[in-house]
């Protein structure tokens, strides 16, 4: 997961103000006392993008893959979407899903 994804900031439009605003918004939503892991990830992302130099350094010299296998991208929650990316299916889809796995 990239720091841009964590903060839900478009790399093309990122500037200090946008990054700061996104960071504060997320910190408000995920305070460190209730979401320590999430907060840590958000803070680390902010540190990587907080000013132009950091953003350029990230762009140029970042060597961390972020994940160890491609499918792990599914496991990360986006900064803005958060829980929204996990929405239960409608009842028909759930029926289909269960029947599909039953007859597998």
């Amino acid at each position: 997961m990239t720091p841009y994804e964590i903060l839900a900031v478009d790399p093309q439009q990122a500037d200090d103000q946008i990054v700061r605003r996104a960071y504060l918004e997320l910190v408000r939503r995920y305070p460190p006392d209730r979401f320590p892991d999430r907060f840590q990830a958000i803070h680390a992302a902010y540190e990587q993008l907080k000013d132009e130099r950091s953003r350029l350094e990230y762009y140029l010299f970042d060597r961390h893959p972020g994940i160890s296998l491609p499918f792990e991208v599914l496991r990360e929650e986006r900064g803005d979407a958060g829980e929204q990316s996990r929405k239960p299916p409608d009842f028909n889809h759930l029926q289909q899903y269960l029947r599909q796995w039953m007859s597998r």
Binding site: A8, L60, R63, I67, L69, L74, K87, P88, R99
Partner: protein, 870 residues
């Protein structure tokens, strides 16, 4: 021949028509028994032709067995046809079980609801045989998946399962409506022994998953396999999103593309459902390039610098090269570079990511710096072409490459047995800068591109420092200070630079400015005080007393009267000034200062001893301190172990002051004399020391193990008398033993490992670290000895090795050259450590081991020797 055989076999068997009814009946039963249901069905059909009423049950039994066998072999459609041809079967448990199993395979759950309900109620009345066909789990699942009411024919007789089925359906519907609490409430009534109990767990997992309570969800889903339900399979895509990625079960699940496809949809990433599972599988099987290609062709917009999963995948595919093993990594990077080359002018992400990766990857190879430089230049060109000029980005790139060229490397000096044995190395570590000219060029380009790139300026300054290019360094410092007048780090560097060249006053001013920016920085306070101290010494020697007084006021404004600290404590500073006034022959002022210091000293004996040593070091005639000498003699006579350790602390601090000074100044012999006195005292008092105190003294005297002096032996005796089985005694005894033998062996290593295990029980972290370090050194030496044994003429080579080493480097100091000179253009870093290891023979080689934590300056602080060295 074959025909003949066939004929003969045909002759040996009676024709079908000739079999009697009894024979047919027996054969059908035999086939049914032997697990050959197809033949049994054939025979039963013939028998039905004779007497349908009598043999219909046999036909059905055979048919049921055939369907069962076909289902087991995965021939679902054939099983379905045979089952249909059997007509209306009586509702026996076997037939119901078959109906349910067929429903599971065909997905026609509604048709099997009646049979499932019968099975469920039968199983419940049989008191839950939960194996094979009697298990109520499958019928319960079929009933749930029929998504219909409990069959009315049985609902009245069995109201409990009917109600439970309704609860499960209701809970699933509520999950879809995001009413998780209500869903959990709906299944709360399902008991542990209910045939629907596993559905309660599944609903619990679903609710937790969609709420984002991953731990709870994982725990619920992980319990499903224990219950023996197929629901565990339905929960596996959820587990893929929940289990730790290094979990073996998770990795196994991730290889199944269908599961992963389902996981994509569950995670709300349906757009990846077609591409990601295959790409993931290819990656997991080591087909990295195919995996990349597959994603690229799958029209999901990969690669891209976007703040979404595609961005994450892009980051992964370009940076994962650093995780791959050497050869695979190189092949993968080559492939991405080819892709980058192909996409020049077409796809900036592919091109820039590819070139960037090659540059970063090449940095891992020695001697590739020039190549790396040209790749980065290519990157900058491509960036400019596709995204426009960006001077800040260019500045960062140049500074980065500059750091590569400015790396210092250890000169190859061959085997150094002194270092391996942990002894003071008479030559010191030799380092050289890889390519200072190129580094300078890069840093200059960096600051030219972006003149506010402060770190690039400081890197250039570091380079000049390390290369010893002093005039360039000084000019640059002035320029940097003008450019960044309010930058603490810059001011500190400027101050250090000035002090380094003896411009104490200028250095003091820079430190003052830095202190104004951050008055509470303790390391900076020490730097400032030390600069002022040196300046005051100079002023005193030149007879400028007024200035000397004003400088004293400056340091006292920062000093801490209550602190027993050699650099920050007021008493120690006043003591220094007292010595300065003695040097200026201003005895009245000197003794005034001394009295003040004595009044403020938190620890009088320590202060007195410090003053004595400092005065001697600064060349004060000991006879002029006669009264003090008498008090010290008295102090030495009456000192106990605690007092002796304090004196040792003072002495070690003064040793730090001595380092770097030339022997002909007369300072060293005086200190050697003092050391002898101190050793005598320690040898006397260590007999009454506790373990911690003996260990402290033993650490100071550890070199005696090699030189055979008495203090270390006294420590060993005391440790043995305290506890001869303690790891402390065993450790230092082992050190002495190895030093006696000169060459350690494998038995010594084993013994040290045993001591380490004992040390770990003490939980004395400092001691554990000490034993570990020693063990590592011994292992290195033993490995070296083994190597010599295997290659050379035997162990005698090692004995000669140290002698040769000393002979080779005898008399060398600054003009020392390594056996293999550094590459052309390399500048050797001046060995600042060199002279510091020439004093005496009874000193510990590693100052960091010593317990006096206040003396060593912080990393960015210039060492005391730098400041106090003439």
């Amino acid at each position: 021949m074959a025909r003949k055989k066939k004929k003969s076999r045909a002759r040996s068997k009676p024709p079908e028509e000739q079999l009697t009814i009894e024979q047919l009946e027996a054969r059908a039963a035999e086939n049914l028994e032997a697990g050959n249901p197809r033949q049994a069905v054939k025979d039963a059909r013939k028998l039905c032709g004779h007497d349908r009423e009598r043999y219909e049950s046999l036909l059905r039994r055979a048919g049921v067995a055939l369907v069962d066998s076909l289902l087991l072999n995965g021939k679902v459609s054939q099983a379905r046809t045979v089952f249909a041809s059997l007509g209306n079967l009586p509702p026996t448990p076997e037939c119901d079980a078959l109906t349910v199993r067929l429903a599971r395979e065909t997905g026609d759950f509604a048709a099997a609801a009646e049979a499932a309900a019968r099975l469920l109620t039968t199983a419940a009345s049989d008191d839950g045989g939960d194996s094979d066909d009697r298990s109520p789990l499958l019928p319960a699942d079929v009933l749930v998946l029929s998504f219909a009411e409990f069959p009315p024919s049985q609902a009245a007789a069995h109201p409990v399962p009917a109600a439970e089925l309704r609860q499960v359906h209701r809970a699933l519907a509520l999950i879809c409506e995001q009413s998780y609490d209500e869903a959990l409430a709906a299944v709360r009534g399902l008991g542990r022994h209910s045939p629907f109990a596993h559905w309660r767990l599944f609903v619990k997992g679903l609710a937790a998953f969609y709420r984002g309570e991953d731990d709870k969800a994982r725990q619920a889903f992980e319990r499903l396999p224990e219950m023996g339900s197929w629901l565990a399979d339905a929960a596996s895509p959820f587990l893929l999103l929940l289990l730790p990625v290094d979990d073996a079960h998770c990795r196994q699940l991730a290889k199944d593309e269908e599961r992963l496809r389902a996981a994509c949809r569950l995670a709300g990433r349906s757009e990846l459902a077609e591409a990601l599972p295959r790409a993931n599988y290819l990656w997991m099987t080591g087909r990295y390039r195919d995996s990349f290609r597959f994603l690229r062709r799958s029209r999901i917009g990969f690669p891209a610098e976007t703040p979404d999963v595609i961005g994450s995948l892009t980051r992964f595919y370009y940076n994962a090269a650093f995780l791959l093993e050497d050869e695979a990594g190189e092949r993968y990077v080559d492939f991405l570079f080819e892709e980058a080359e192909k996409s020049r002018g077409k796809n900036p992400t592919l091109m820039l990511r590819g070139i960037r990766l090659v540059a970063l990857f090449s940095e891992g190879f020695d001697g590739e710096e020039e190549a790396v430089f040209s790749i980065w230049q290519d990157f900058l060109f491509c960036y400019q072409t596709s995204c426009g000029r960006n001077p800040r980005l260019a500045s960062l790139v140049y500074a980065h490459v500059g750091e590569l060229f400015a790396r210092t490397e250890e000169a190859q000096t061959g085997i150094n047995p002194f270092l391996l044995l942990g002894l003071p190395d008479p030559v010191g570590e030799q380092r050289y800068i890889l390519n200072p000219e190129m580094a300078e060029k890069c840093f200059q380009s960096a600051v030219k591109e972006d003149e506010w790139n402060r770190l690039a300026w400081l890197s250039l300054l570091n380079l000049y420092d390390q290369a010893g290019w002093k005039s360039k360094r000084n000019r640059l410092l002035d320029e940097i200070v003008k450019r960044f007048p309010d930058d603490k780090a810059v001011l500190v560097r400027a101050g250090a630079g000035c002090c380094d060249r003896g411009a104490w006053d200028k250095g003091r001013k820079y430190y003052r400015r830095a202190l104004d920016l951050d008055p509470r920085d303790r390391a900076l306070q020490e730097r400032f005080i030390l600069a002022v101290t040196r300046l005051a010494l100079k002023q005193a020697v030149n007879g400028r007393l007024k200035r000397c007084f004003s400088l004293l006021d400056e340091v006292l404004a920062i000093a801490r009267p209550e602190m027993d600290h050699f650099n920050l404590g007021s008493s120690y500073l006043l003591g220094r000034w007292s010595v300065f006034f003695l040097l200026a022959a201003e005895n009245d002022h000197a003794w005034d200062c001394f009295e003040q210091a004595l009044k403020q000293a938190p620890n009088e004996p320590k202060f007195l001893y410090f003053f004595w040593l400092y005065a001697l070091g600064r060349g004060i005639d000991p006879r002029s301190l006669g009264r003090l000498e008498k008090s010290l003699k008295k102090m030495f006579r009456s000192a106990d172990i605690a007092a002796a350790l304090e004196l040792l602390e003072v002495f070690e601090y003064c040793l730090l002051l001595v380092e770097g000074r030339d022997e002909d100044e007369g300072f060293m012999p005086l200190l050697e004399k003092e050391e002898k006195k101190l050793r005598r005292l320690l040898t006397r008092v260590v007999r009454r020391a506790d373990t911690d105190q003996v260990v402290r003294v033993a650490e100071y005297a550890v070199d005696d193990a090699v030189t055979g002096r008495g203090l270390f032996r006294a420590c060993l005796r005391r440790l043995r008398s305290l506890d001869s089985r303690s790891p402390y005694y065993l450790f230092y005894a082992s050190v002495a033993e190895v030093a006696k033998k000169k060459i350690p062996c494998n038995e010594d290593i084993d013994s040290l490992r045993h001591i380490l295990s004992l040390a770990e029980e003490t939980r004395d972290q400092v001691f554990i670290a000490r034993v570990k370090k020693h063990l590592e050194q011994m292992e290195a030496v033993v490995a070296l000895v083994e190597e010599i044994k295997s290659h050379g003429d035997g162990l005698t080579d090692f004995n000669h090795l140290m002698d040769d080493f000393v002979d080779d480097h005898e008399g060398e100091s600054d003009d020392w050259e390594p056996d293999f000179p550094p590459p052309p253009g390399a500048v050797q870093v001046p060995p600042s450590w060199l002279d510091s290891h020439r004093f005496g023979s009874g000193r510990s080689p590693d100052k960091s081991d010593r317990p006096n934590k206040e003396v060593p300056p912080p990393p960015e602080t210039p060492s005391l020797l730098d400041l106090l060295d003439d």
